[in-house]
């Protein structure tokens, strides 16, 4: 009785363990009020991280900033910026999210992935938008992204811009149901002013959308159909728009052969890299091959004919994708054994030898389910 009275006077809880384990409120200001009452230091920290994440969900980047700045430097302050950054990104505040990612220390790269790849589509930039507007919108986004990433750990700024570029190209096309090539040709004929990287990212988006339309309509997804659509030959089916969260596909991690040093690469949606060609008519073939891979059901077989293409970058793209897929009629292991010894292109030989060493084609034998690339906003942990 005396103790209860005393505790009542000091404001201390009689049940601190139960109080500490109770669920947090939903509203971030209420969470913060709760954090201030939290007697256990480490739980006061995780409480503030939760508040910062919820400010991120609501697009309140500055409030999240002040919460994270209130934590001691170290793992949990970095996590605080990571949580705020990814929630801001998932809720359409990509640049503000990147600003937090730049402060997430050793988690910055993870944060970029979560914030950047969740950038939602902008209804003002679609395949039907005048190309100059698509180019200008990218210029603005890139400048904002660069500003947001200033001060990020080494290399994170460039990586962040790569993520933005790939996502931008993806967003203009994928899910739109439209295949107007004009934006993806925006870099053609501009001479020295051309931003071939933007053009390439948009061609990746174009090819991926063509593949998506064919896949969703149950049609065969082929490089020829995609390149044909680029050339003005309509697909066999009409495209239909789908919401962001249905733009599902397969992606891969970056694989760069030592023989590709100095060859231009472009970031891909999901974090991989693809070879790029200055000539758009070659670049679209590379983009189409990558788009085939994006369709999870694609096996190694359709890539095989491209291993003997006269264009080096096309051959090497096909080699990279063969090594990442299981064969149907093709025995990928036998093919890799043969080509690693006999193929005239050292780049193809390298991919095949590396595939044999890493057994990369086997990892996909079981046919993994398509990975969900864009969780619905707010679904993060």
């Amino acid at each position: 009785m005396l103790l209860a009275l005393l505790l009542a006077c000091t404001g201390e809880s009689l049940t601190p363990a139960a109080d500490a384990l109770a669920p947090w409120p939903t509203e971030p200001e209420e969470i913060l009020a709760r954090c201030d009452q939290e007697p256990f230091a480490e739980l006061a920290i995780t409480c503030r991280v939760q508040a910062a994440a919820q400010f991120g969900v609501r697009g309140q980047a500055e409030r999240a900033q002040s919460v994270c700045e209130g934590l001691d430097a170290g793992t949990w302050r970095q996590e605080c910026h990571f949580r705020a950054g990814e929630e801001l990104g998932a809720n359409g505040h990509t640049v503000a999210g990147l600003r937090h990612c730049a402060q997430a220390g050793r988690f910055s790269r993870n944060c970029l992935t979560h914030a950047g790849w969740r950038m939602p589509r902008d209804p003002d930039t679609t395949p039907d938008t005048p190309p100059e507007q698509v180019v200008a919108a990218w210029g603005e986004l890139a400048a904002q992204g660069k500003g947001a990433l200033a001060g990020a750990p080494d290399g994170v700024d460039n990586e962040g811009l790569d993520v933005l570029l790939a996502q931008y190209g993806f967003n203009v096309y994928v899910g739109s149901g439209k295949l107007n090539t004009a934006p993806a040709r925006a870099d053609v004929g501009l001479g020295a002013a051309a931003d071939w990287r933007l053009g390439g990212a948009l061609r990746t988006g174009f090819a991926t959308e063509a593949a998506r339309i064919l896949r969703d309509a149950g049609q065969p997804v082929t490089v020829e159909a995609i390149v044909g659509a680029w050339g003005g030959q309509p697909l066999a089916v009409t495209g239909e728009a789908v919401p962001d969260h249905l733009r599902l596909g397969r992606y891969h991690t970056p694989i760069q052969s030592p023989h590709e040093a100095g060859v231009p690469h472009l970031p891909l949606y999901g974090g991989g890299l693809r070879l790029a060609a200055e000539d758009p008519s070659e670049d679209i073939v590379i983009a189409a091959l990558e788009a085939l891979y994006w369709v999870p059901a694609t096996v190694a077989d359709p890539f095989v004919p491209w291993l003997d293409d006269p264009r080096e970058r096309v051959r090497r793209t096909a080699a990279k994708l063969v090594r990442l897929t299981r064969g149907e009629a093709v025995d990928v292991e036998a093919l890799a054994v043969r080509l690693s010894a006999e193929h005239p292109d050292e780049g193809v030989r390298w991919h095949m030898a590396d595939a044999l060493e890493r057994r990369s084609f086997e990892e996909r034998e079981a046919g993994p389910p398509p990975r969900r690339l864009q969780p619905p906003p707010g679904s993060g942990p």
Partner: protein
């Protein structure tokens, strides 16, 4: 009266089993934490210590605090929690595997 109460308070408990002799519920939780944390790297000893705490909420709080302070051990610690609220809060560490990576 307050001074009297503080003056009569027992010295810092020497063992985990003595923690409940403290007058403040929060101090009891802190005492348990301080006695158990040094045994974190010895799972058998940790389990034995936990068995001395009857209250599952107190036990789970302890495990959660340890998981937050030692994310690299969160998988083991969170697995030992039994109450749904603790298990849910554990996700803030468990669901974030990057937290257990060491700073370079």
């Amino acid at each position: 009266m307050l001074l009297l109460l503080f003056a009569c308070d027992a010295p810092a408990p020497a063992t985990l089993a003595d923690c409940p002799t403290l007058s403040s519920p929060t101090a009891i939780e802190d005492c348990r934490y301080e006695h158990i944390e040094p045994h974190l790297s010895d799972p058998r000893s940790l389990q034995a210590d936990l068995a001395l705490i009857d209250d599952e909420t107190s036990r789970d709080l302890l495990l959660l605090r340890l998981a937050v302070n030692h994310p690299d051990k969160a998988s083991l610690l969170c697995r030992l929690t039994v109450t749904p609220p603790a298990q849910q809060k554990c996700q803030q560490v468990l669901g974030r595997p990057h937290l257990s990576t060491r700073p370079r």
